[in-house]
């Protein structure tokens, strides 16, 4: 007896799936923005305040060497024990920010270190203020250089958001298990969901590439 694909029951639930898709985009979008900002901030702080180098290094190593899922459990199940209650969505955003923050710190740090000292001296000798040198000579080019690495990390983050279904967030994977239980068409459901993730990942790559071109236009490419 051959298996017959039946996509209609799954596609009939498109409303549930679209809600899940929307929540995935919302959560991942928030996490990417916050995590990116946190990473940039920590990478800069690490360079400016020597006392913070060690604690930031520990944070980065701990996050990068433990699974995202376990971090999610610690935030969602562990923190309430310490009196910090939150919704599953809040826990998701917090975990994503902390996780991506660590990876972004490491990536941006590499970018900052690639700026040569002579560049800074050249900037200062042109009578730029310290802030102007930092903004236009150090941070801008550093971010432009590591933007491709940051972009792939952002895409990985989007895909990792699928584990939020473990704490019953109704994002795309969570919606999938609902649809699966309603329709009993497991394989078809996950094929549809896989296609949606693939489309989202491709779209995010394009958006990030365009964003990179807009944000880091002329000054860097001219060289």
């Amino acid at each position: 007896m051959a298996f017959e694909f039946q996509f209609q029951p799954v596609l009939a639930q498109s409303e549930v799936l679209l809600d899940g898709l929307y929540l995935t985009l919302e959560l991942a979008g928030t996490g990417i923005v916050l995590g990116g900002l946190l990473g940039t901030l920590l990478a800069v702080l690490r360079g400016v305040v020597p006392a913070l180098r060690w604690p930031i290094g520990v944070y980065v190593e701990v996050v990068r060497n433990t699974p995202f899922l376990v971090q999610l459990f610690i935030v969602y199940l562990g923190l309430p024990e310490a009196g910090l209650r939150m919704s599953a969505e809040q826990a998701a955003v917090i975990t994503m920010t902390l996780n991506l923050g660590a990876y972004a710190t490491e990536i941006v740090r590499a970018g900052l270190e690639s700026v040569h000292k002579s560049q800074i001296e050249a900037g200062l000798s042109l009578a730029l203020t310290r802030w102007q040198v930092f903004r236009h000579v150090v941070l801008g080019p550093a971010l432009a250089r590591v933007w491709p690495s940051l972009s792939s990390q952002f895409v990985l983050m989007l895909l990792s958001s699928s584990v939020f279904s473990f704490i019953s967030v109704q994002e795309l994977s969570g919606a999938a298990s609902n649809v699966e239980q309603d329709t009993f068409r497991s394989f078809e459901t996950y094929i549809v969901i896989t296609v949606l993730y693939l489309a989202m990942a491709m779209a995010l790559r394009v958006v990030l590439a365009v964003l990179g071109r807009v944000m880091f236009a002329a000054p860097v490419r001219a060289r």
Partner: protein, 218 residues
């Protein structure tokens, strides 16, 4: 009945790390073989092979590990194979590893200077001999640091297969937490065990990378 998080619970968590390690090794072995084939296909002279390999890499890297897991779990059972969760988990993690290793190794093969190909072709080596005696020995050297780095990702992503009931570290943590209800303590221990596995591998990857650059400069 609520239990305390005592020595026996601690031992249960720590000893379940063997399944995490087993899954990592299975995925590394199977995924490594498949990844090697994909890397070769990716740089093949036959365009359809290149497209196929590129498609596979794009699929694996554009989809959550969780989806690879569900697709292989349900797909294989529909194909009439009633697999125990551990095997399904091993297979899906192998697919995951093959996509990433294939892409990493493609880069390594292509980073061997073009002149090496030309020189070996001039010596009338066949394509297979070129790979065997000239290109791969050099590519392997370049491939070691990023491959070791990827193992860390692999170890961490084995946690995802806990959802289909494989009692590896993350699942063991969950079970102990259900019995003791001390999530903070339990999951910090789980995280610590992962850290003890992953950190040395991370350090090794970094050390290998530094050593290779020193070698190149000298």
């Amino acid at each position: 009945m609520i239990r305390e998080f005592g020595t026996s619970e601690l031992w249960f968590v720590v000893s379940s790390a063997r399944w995490t390690l087993a899954l990592t090794l299975i995925a590394l072995g199977l995924g490594g073989v498949l990844g090697f084939v994909i890397a070769l296909a990716r740089v093949s002279r036959l365009a359809p092979l290149r497209w196929l390999a590129a498609g596979w890499i794009g699929l694996v890297q554009g989809v959550p590990v969780l989806m690879l897991l569900f697709l292989s779990y349900y797909g294989l059972s529909l194909a009439g194979l009633d697999l125990p969760p551990l095997v399904a988990a091993g297979i899906s993690l192998s697919f995951y590893a093959s996509g990433f290793l294939g892409e990493i190794w493609r880069g390594c093969i292509q980073s061997v200077p073009w002149q090496q190909w030309e020189a070996s072709a001039a010596l009338a080596l066949s394509r297979a001999q070129q790979y065997r005696y000239v290109v791969l020995p050099q590519a392997v050297r370049i491939a070691v640091p990023p491959t070791v780095g990827f193992i860390v990702q692999l170890v961490k992503n084995t946690s995802i297969v806990s959802i289909i009931g494989v009692v590896e570290l993350a699942r063991a943590g969950h079970l102990v937490n259900n019995a003791t209800f001390q999530p903070m303590r339990v999951f910090c221990v789980v995280a610590l065990v992962y850290f003890c596995i992953c950190w040395p591998i991370s350090l090794a990857a970094r050390w290998l990378e530094r050593r290779m650059h020193v070698g190149r400069a000298g």
